[in-house]
Amino acid sequence: MDSTPLIDRIAMLVPGAALEAAASIDVPAVYVPAGRLVEVCRALCEQAQFDLLIEITAVDYLPRQPRYEVVYHLVSTSALTRARLKVKVAAGDMVPTVQSVWPAAGWPEREVWDLFGIVFEGHPDLRRILTPDDWEGHPLRKDHPVQVRKTAQTYEPLEVTEQEFRANIERDRVTRDPGAKR
């Protein structure tokens, strides 16, 4: 797929951004540097009618460097065209959030952080979303162990001695005053 028309268009809207065509067989795809991402997205949304953010996801290309690619799928519901933006992310690097452009970006960015550990700079609510809050690691990374038996995490049940139990009973005992009126 030829990405040059899309690149020319972005270059016109956001001068100076270092864009690079990405190999693609279905829709025009462009590599965007993380530093200019928000600018490019805003221009695409407001001036090029890419009003619909279809999804944000990431791919882990271990052992290639830079390791990750964050992928944005865009659709223009008026011009009926599609585009794919990609950002190369090295381990430990951050990507700016595009929530200010499309509110829909909030959860998919949380999902990418949860599953890949890529931090979205400026995201107001970057919590785990699919895995439990106390989960260790980021499951969709290629070096995350698969089918490894782990002992189940359990907590000991609350145990009290007999003396403590009786003391608790005594402490909570309430006796009705025989003289009191009902």
């Binding site: 067989i25 829709v27 791919v59 829909a104 999902e111 439990p132």
Partner: protein, 390 residues
């Protein structure tokens, strides 16, 4: 007078949260001031599991994501992988896939209509809807022997040819179904109580629906006309005659009207499809690398046996690259982003889950509404938690 807000927990085990959705609502009297949505209770790591499987083994996995639109998922996956493989499908296969996708849409909308109406208090509608859905599940059973997750659509075509008598069963359903739809509409469309509960509730503008990433029934009930079947035609949809219904109001009632209308359009498409599908013919692409040979040949021909053995032991390789083919599912645009590194296992698959975005927009839609309307809005956005959590 001193007033303060109250925090109420709703779910995850709440009968009207369609599975395991949890909402923490901040209430001012009966008005919802804020809502925090927690998901993930159904997360089973299907995308991670798929990376350990071979290409053809992923079909049953993706069908279990959105369990009400199972064959729509496998269709999206098969189309993306076939795009990478550069395969062309025989026309008959494409028509059968259209038929299956539309029947799946009807089945999904029926479950939606039944549960949504039940939550609002119209319990009898649920019984009628599930009665007709049963017929669709019987059709699945005919093609694949499996009712909910047939895995009938495969990479490279279909599992096998349509069974004898399938045309008659589909035609019988298509003849009976429009009358049943009228029955549902008799129960709801002019029902005073139902309209009171749904009109003007959970209103979403077209601009908001698009900004929150909700293409599909929700955006079309808000005045959008975006439909993947028309905007980016796949299969043979551009040769079919059908309308894309759209309602401008954007409330729960409009979403109900829209989905009923969509079912009528689906019946129209199915009628055309079943006429075009010849009783016998090609049911898979003619590509011996990907499509396993028919069973009778495996038992009689050496080459077929070898080919069968290779496909089921090694699998097939897919050229390196990435593809995303969008599909109009029952809940909106979805599709599988497939990345291949040129081996017999997917490097990464990612399902675009429409329900995920619908859940995300919930706090925005229910804000400043009544707490009783929360149920109506959740129902109308048609979230399937298997699709949200994957």
């Amino acid at each position: 007078m001193r007033t303060e807000t109250m925090t109420v927990n709703m779910g995850p085990q709440h009968p009207s949260t369609h599975g395991v959705l949890r909402l923490v609502l901040t209430l001012d009297g009966e008005i919802v001031k804020a809502a925090d949505v927690t998901i993930g209770y159904l997360h089973t790591g299907i995308e991670k599991t798929a990376e350990q499987k071979k290409w053809q083994q992923v079909i049953p996995l993706v069908e279990r994501m959105d369990y009400l639109g199972a064959q729509s998922n496998s269709l999206a996956y098969a189309l993306s992988v076939e795009k990478l493989l550069g395969m062309e499908m025989p026309e008959r296969v494409q028509h059968i896939r259209v038929l299956i996708a539309e029947l799946q849409r009807i089945a999904s909308h029926l479950v939606w209509l039944g549960t949504h109406a039940m939550e609002i208090g119209a319990i009898s509608v649920m019984l009628y809807c599930f009665r007709e859905r049963e017929l669709l599940l019987n059709l699945n059973e005919q093609t694949a022997g499996f009712r909910l997750f047939p895995s009938y659509i495969r990479v490279g075509g279909l599992r096998e040819d349509l069974p004898r008598g399938y045309h008659d069963s589909v035609n019988a359903f298509l003849d009976a179904f429009p009358g049943k739809l009228d029955e549902y509409e008799d129960l709801l469309t002019k029902n005073h109580i139902y309209r009171k509960r749904t009109e003007g509730v959970g209103v979403l503008s077209r601009k908001d629906a698009i900004a929150w990433g909700l293409p599909g029934p929700i955006a079309r009930a808000s005045g959008s006309t975006y439909d993947v079947r028309r905007a980016f035609p796949y299969l043979t949809y551009d040769s079919y005659e059908f309308d894309v219904p759209s309602f401008p109001e954007g409330d729960v009632y409009a979403r109900y009207r829209l989905r009923v209308q969509e079912m009528r359009e689906s019946v129209r498409i199915c009628r055309q499809a079943i006429q075009r599908i010849t009783p016998t013919g090609a049911w898979a692409a003619n590509d011996t690398r990907v499509v396993p040979p028919p069973k009778d040949k495996v038992y009689t021909e050496m080459e077929a046996l070898i080919q069968h053995f290779l496909i089921y032991s090694q699998g097939f390789t897919v050229p390196a690259g990435e593809a995303y083919v969008p599909v109009e599912g029952a809940r909106g645009e979805h599709g599988v982003f497939v990345v291949s590194d040129g081996t017999n296992r997917p490097w990464r698959i990612k399902m675009r889950a429409p329900s995920f975005y619908a859940c995300q927009a919930l706090p925005y839609v229910i804000k400043d509404g009544m707490i009783a309307d929360v149920i109506a809005v959740i129902g109308s956005s048609d979230v399937v938690m298997g699709d949200v959590d994957r």
